[in-house]
């Protein structure tokens, strides 16, 4: 069994602050504190996001790659969360293999009355880089921001465009690589 954060309260607060920062500035790559070791095959940042955001009130869906026995035990022990079998039932979805991820529309996009009751996707990618790649615009971005995320299929970016059009409904996406996190909330539009 792997240990979680060295200091559960303060580390989770620090990561939460970093995620707020990332969400407020879509496309900005922020660094987060990571536990000493993460369950195979998760990166440190993904484990941090889980330890910070997931608790016993959240239903979590894991894709095939992320859904190892090790990850399941880790989440159940440290977060106490419920693991669900269908993407639509999940509050948080953990995606280890973005190339094979389900369409964004298969996740819970909330309702017009309560758009906040939608799913948040934690997508693990091999690397994240600011300053080149897809052009992002929208709230939180002064002029334009470019974000390059290796390993995301073209269909993902199309799906993100449809997701943006659903506003105020829609899912929010957090991309994570190694110890870095970038957010693509539903308010962000993508071009190129």
């Amino acid at each position: 069994m792997l240990a979680g954060f060295a200091d559960p309260v303060l580390d989770a607060q620090r990561v939460f602050r970093a995620v707020l920062d990332a969400m407020a500035h879509p496309g900005r790559v922020v660094e987060v504190a990571a536990p000493e070791s993460a369950p195979n095959p998760l990166h440190g940042a993904v484990a941090s996001l889980c330890l910070t955001l997931v608790d016993l009130d959240t239903a979590v869906w894991l894709d095939e790659m992320a859904g190892t026995q090790e990850t399941r035990e880790y989440l159940q022990f440290h977060c106490g969360c419920r693991l669900v079998e269908t993407p639509a039932a999940a509050r948080f979805a953990l995606i280890g293999d973005p190339a094979a991820m389900p369409a964004l529309s298969r996740f819970d996009t909330g309702t017009d009355e309560s758009p906040e009751r939608s799913a948040t996707l934690l997508v693990q990618v091999p690397s994240l880089r600011e300053g080149r790649g897809r052009r992002l615009a929208g709230p939180g971005i002064a002029s334009e921001v470019r974000l390059e995320a290796i390993g995301l299929p073209a269909g993902f970016w199309h799906g993100l465009r449809d997701n943006h059009a659903l506003f105020p409904r829609g899912v929010d996406v957090l991309l994570a690589a190694e110890r870095h996190v970038a957010a693509l909330p539903r308010t962000t539009s993508v071009s190129d």
Partner: protein, 149 residues
Amino acid sequence: MAAERAARRRWMSVLAQASGEEIEQAWQALPEQPEYRVVRRPEVGLVMVRARAGGSGAPFNLGEMTVTRCTVDLPSGMAGHGYVAGRNVRHAELAAVFDALLQDPLLTAGLEEAVIAPLEAGQRERRRQVAARSAPTRVEFFTLVRGDD
């Protein structure tokens, strides 16, 4: 499986109900203190105690109690959990270590004899003393007789 679970439940209960000093003494008395790693540091929290009136009524919240929990694992991969009443973090940690050790089939019998049995006997004795002290104060209402014949 069911028998193992019952056995574990029993020793976890004994470890939790022992006093902090007793656990510490048992730990010091071990021939050698094994190495262990803390997976979840001792943390203090509240749990809601639920009860049923008369054991069969509708469940209700009796009240909250302070509980300290801790999880450790041994180099052998055995994980142990300690849940104890109160806020004695050392007690929770050692209870978790003993729980992990007791799950090792090679150690179970020895620890059972050296640690669990004496603790359990002590607890039984304490309960008996409390019962003995309170027994004379019992009023047997049904033995009262009416004054008029």
